[in-house]
Amino acid sequence: MAAAALLRRSPAARVLLSPALSSRLVASKPHSSSPAPPPPPSSTTTTKTFSIYRWDPDSPSTKPHLKDYKIDVADCGPMVLDALIKIKNEQDPSLTFRRSCREGICGSCAMNIDGDNGLACLTKINADDKASTISPLPHMFVVKDLVVDMTNFYNQYKSVEPWLKRKDPQSPDKKEILQSKAERAKLDGMYECILCACCSTSCPSYWWNPEEYLGPAALLHANRWIQDSRDQYTKERLDSINDEFKLYRCHTIKNCTHACPKGLNPAKQIDTIKKLQLGA
């Protein structure tokens, strides 16, 4: 078990723990003649408390609440998703959350961890003593525990028409539509979006107008198609989002860029769209 623990914990974290450990043990021994008091349990077993938002639609009378779970982080993978799976396996099988790839590419496990939106499979467990709070994405309707209703988010993505639209008829020999390297480079920073909804649900403007404002994710994808040189409906795309509510609810709060787990910059893309609207 000790060997397994060594393998899982990073060397840096191990070093951090040992000086604190030894100093705490030394301090707790007041007199050399009196028997040493037993060391406090938290210094030997690395327990971490997780306060997880729980609500069960099948027991409607119980209000949503935070439930505490203690796990031994030395016996668990480094990411929050590992902790959630461990809690579900060992302590409470009724804990419900979405997850799929466990490598930060599917976007299923998006949730609010210690106040910041992120992917549970990419967020490391915070090694300090404070309890970690895990709650669903803010200002989204909750289906159960950490699972939220994403239909509005997906409908907004669909409304942007995220596919290639051409006016020219397809060439008779079905040749590829050519694109230079520079033109393809314009799409970098937009095509990597995994639709996890971390950015949109971190935007206060999206909280107050979720139905009308498209949100940073949908606008990032709108820009991805506006910037694509192969797409010929640029003007129509710009006109369709040139709306007081769809686009201009953005007040450059920049929470979206801070929240994105893939390191994308939706705020910059929205800025590009606004500049294009001035020219069009």
Partner: protein, 93 residues
């Protein structure tokens, strides 16, 4: 006509949802229509009886769930619906 009680917004939403289900049922085959109407009316009556009218969180959750199910039912490719009863043998402590 007896004076109609003033319905609250959430009551109107629930009734609109019920009406939506009945209208969607009309578009299916007659046997299916009967099946849909019986299932839907049974569920609505059961929830009206058992759910506390002040529990807005749960009522809104049920309305959202119902709207999603109605959207699926409206799809012309869907021919009908069926239900199954799950007996909760034990509850998680």
């Amino acid at each position: 006509m007896a004076p109609r009680p003033k319905l609250s917004g959430i009551q109107r939403q629930a009734l609109a949802l019920y009406r939506g289900f009945l209208r969607a049922a009309r578009l299916k085959s007659p046997e299916e229509r009967q099946m849909i109407e019986s299932v839907v009316s049974a569920e609505f009556r059961e929830n009206a009886r058992s759910v506390d009218r002040r529990n807005f969180v749960y009522i809104e959750y049920l309305i959202r769930r119902g709207k999603r199910q109605l959207d699926q039912l409206k799809n012309p490719d869907i021919t009908g619906l069926s239900t199954l009863r799950i007996n909760k043998a034990s509850s998680i402590p």
